[in-house]
Assembly symmetry: C2
Homo-oligomer: 513 residues x 2
């Protein structure tokens, strides 16, 4: 992503180290402490990066239970070395890591949530190294930056990047939090709030255990606010606060044609073509401007408040050209963050027959679309899937629950199957005016000297909703990593300037008055 | 394919050997000779099968030039041993085999075309043997028939099958023709027509040389009719005459979205989804009843004559349920052969993002559809592709000739690319009333005692068009092998009843009055 220079905030660290900006009196104490924190970060880059690289070197696909446990054990040790009482919470599969650091006299408790597992990898798509052998580049691979040696003097440029699975999503925020504790201590300070940690080991695999774990551990996890440390900061580079996130559910739609691929010469025009039919079916679901045409799709949407709409419009707009396209789906004026605060229907994958070198002159036997449905309050996942099913039936399809039998094939001209095994989870939104969230926002502003970007809702989905639903705790997301981090893709990376600034931001959160 | 018993004609050989059916006087001479031919085939099964097995044992993938030449040399010897003057026509790669057997006083010349190369193989998918080690089964592998020993007494059942690459496509028709010459001689007869042979060695690899070879050898190949001995007979089992074939061209359509896959949460509803757009684009091309909506798509179609339409409707209908679907694309009354005599637009492959186990929550960066366009007279391949391009532009797309540049991405909201490298070839149709073809049809009817199924046009494509285009010779296809022969697939096979009957059919052709 090319940052539009006018929008980009200066590095938090740079501003603090310059120590030049005039400050309102109330912020001067925080600022002096922040400058000490920044100086400590600047002086300890080598150790900070080393610790991150050590964690990134442990493979962390959720299905790899042995290595997942190595990650969890590493995290327990890392927390304990900071004086945090830490232990594993077993789930029967990937353990969660729990930690707590109580502050005498504190009346506010903040629960930090991150996840330590990462998306599965396709090593062949990683350029120049294994996903769990972190490397350093002098910039973004997308702009041609090559791998460079780890610096002998331990000094890192802000624009240098570490490439590794979970460099951004979501191991680095965990290391930022650990470093923030170290930095406060080095600055002669300490948290003003009680701090709890909950680090999940199967978020990328669907968070199978978190809902029950929250429900079963309400007392242990009790807090005034959950802070989710995940996701990319706003492209402006300013500290970013996100007050909600979309939920998600998904469906695999399979349209059936003949029972096996048929010669497109001898059968084309006679055997129904499932790829063509799937295309028509998908086209029936969405207008060219992106509006979903499924009946009831928007029925349960809680409209944005005037304050939330205003907050969206106060955020600098993203430029489509930065992502390689000319116009947003909703037209030239569509704002990314406001657009992604609505429910969506997204074709994330599609396949039929063969393409490219393997192409064959056939009528395919079936065609598949993988669809994800993003949700906003108060849409229930199961109900949204049911609306999709009704729409498909409304297009004339008979739906089967398994591969169709010969009898079903002979009886129904339009035959499809929808697989929606994962139940998904709803979206959530914390009011912008929530008092604890407001105190955190002020603490960050005072500490970093920058007014945070306040995003009422994130387009992405995090299972944040279970904290309010199961334990009554509101959630605030504080994303810190670079937006072009290739999250979920090959060549995931972390810009080091974001890493260092994130430490200061989290130190500020720990000092929430 | 399951034959509907009522439609299936008896074995030609069985009818002739029973010698029972009353005959019109004019056919009695032909019938007596056919009975002698049938008796010879019946008595010489061992030698006939042995010669076929010998040819099937020579590997014949076009790219394997050394073995291709072994096949060609074998064919020259086999032709010469029947008194056919034979030689190779060099193409620079796979040679063609040419042969001629002139009949004193004959005024009609028939040029037989077949190909001796076969589709590439995946040996691991062949059950129980190597593709070039022919085996005998007591029926169809698809119905569980096991491999049986070659019979010690040299007697074969009609339903037994030989499994080997090119058992059906297209070596056995060549051996049927050779055997037909032997059978006539044994019956004290001889061809009534001049006979030429042209046997191609790279048909399955795209027939790179045949157009030029026909053009460069017009005098050598001069004939009144080309008979292409290729493809499966009509499922009824009756002798089958095909008077035309569709041509083909193809196009790969790529619709572009963002320059790389984007997170469907953070970008879904804002970044344009190329899979969704491709779906809408494909849906715009074709009505639910299969009619192509591209402007001018049917403009150059030469309508079927009343005689051709009647011929289509006289053919027993195929049953959709035999192929695993309830209703043809054109509705319940649509006849396969009539439907596939129209030009088609077929989505043979489609892909975007990831599906199944690899599914990812992204907005794909592009979406691809592989389309084949079947052609009928007088549609020109390049013009049909041009109509497709115009349609895509008409849907608002800017078309690029290569991967789009950043400037093109920023300038055009709808961006696509169409790759149509192969020029393809047009379709062809010989009139049902063509006098030489009509004489051949009558000769087959008289010889076999069965009225041939007359198919005005085949849905599949064969490069037959170059004979009329380059040398002015009309083409008649005489397919003889079993429809369930697994042409182009693993476990290709030939039902021996079809082999024996085909010899009688071709003997009849050689005796065209």
């Amino acid at each position: 992503m090319q940052k539009t220079p006018a929008l980009v905030a200066p590095s938090i660290l740079a501003v603090l180290l310059a120590g030049a900006a005039p400050l309102p009196l109330a912020a001067q104490g925080a600022r002096a402490e922040a400058e000490a924190v920044a100086a400590w970060v600047e002086a300890n880059q080598r150790a900070l990066v080393d610790e991150l690289v050590e964690l990134l070197s442990i493979p962390n696909v959720a299905a790899d239970l042995e290595n997942i446990r190595r990650n969890a054990d590493w995290l327990v040790s890392a927390l304990e070395s900071r004086g945090v009482k830490a232990r594993l919470l077993e789930t029967g599969a990937q353990p969660m890591v729990y930690g707590e650091l109580m502050t005498p006299g504190a009346t506010t408790t903040i629960l930090f949530y991150s996840h330590y597992d990462g998306q599965p990898v396709d090593p062949s798509a990683w350029v120049g190294h294994d996903p769990w052998v972190p490397v350093l580049r002098w910039g973004s691979l997308a702009r041609g930056a090559s791998i460079i040696p780890w610096p002998a003097d331990g000094r890192y440029e802000d624009d240098w990047r570490i490439y590794a699975r979970s460099a951004s999503d979501d191991k680095s925020p965990i290391v930022m939090l650990l470093a923030a504790l170290d930095a406060l201590r080095a600055a002669g300070s300490s948290p003003t709030v009680n701090v709890k940690f909950l680090l999940e080991g199967d978020e990328e695999a669907g968070s199978a255990h978190i809902r029950r774990l929250i429900r079963d551990n309400r007392r242990l996890l009790a807090a005034d606010l959950v802070i989710m440390a995940d996701g990319p900061e706003h492209p402006s580079g300013r500290p970013t606060l996100v007050y909600g996130a979309r939920g998600i559910t998904s469906a695999r739609v399979i349209v059936y044609g003949p029972e096996r691929p048929l010669h497109s010469g001898h059968f084309g025009n006679w055997a129904p073509n499932p790829a063509q039919r799937l295309a028509a079916l998908l086209a029936s679901m969405k207008a060219p401007d992106g509006r979903v045409l499924i009946d009831g799709f928007y029925d349960d949407v809680v409209p944005l408040t005037a304050e939330e709409t205003a907050a969206f419009r106060a955020i600098p707009a993203d430029a489509p050209a930065d992502y390689g396209f000319a116009e947003p789906e909703g037209g030239p004026g569509s704002l990314r963050l406001e657009a992604t605060a609505a429910p969506s229907l997204n074709v994330r994958g599609m396949a039929a027959g063969w393409i490219g070198e393997s192409v064959r002159t056939i009528v395919p036997d079936s065609a598949v679309a993988e669809i994800d449905l993003r949700l906003v309050p108060d849409i229930e996942p199961a109900e949204q899937v049911e609306r999709l099913l009704r729409h498909i039936r409304g297009q004339g399809y008979h739906l089967v629950d398994a591969s169709p039998t010969a009898e079903e094939r002979a009886a129904h001209p339009y035959l499809a199957r929808v697989i929606s095994r994962e139940s998904g989870y709803p979206g959530m939104r914390t009011p912008l005016a929530h008092p604890v969230a407001a105190r955190v926002a002020r603490a960050i502003a005072a500490y970093t000297g920058q007014e945070p970007v306040r995003i009422p809702m994130l387009g992405g989905s995090v299972p944040a909703v279970w904290f309010p639903v199961e334990a009554g705790i509101p959630v605030l997301l504080i994303p810190t990593v670079n937006p072009d981090n290739n999250q979920h893709s090959p060549n995931e990376n972390l810009r080091l300037g974001n890493f260092f600034d994130g430490i200061v931001t989290f130190a500020g959160v720990l000092r929430t008055p």
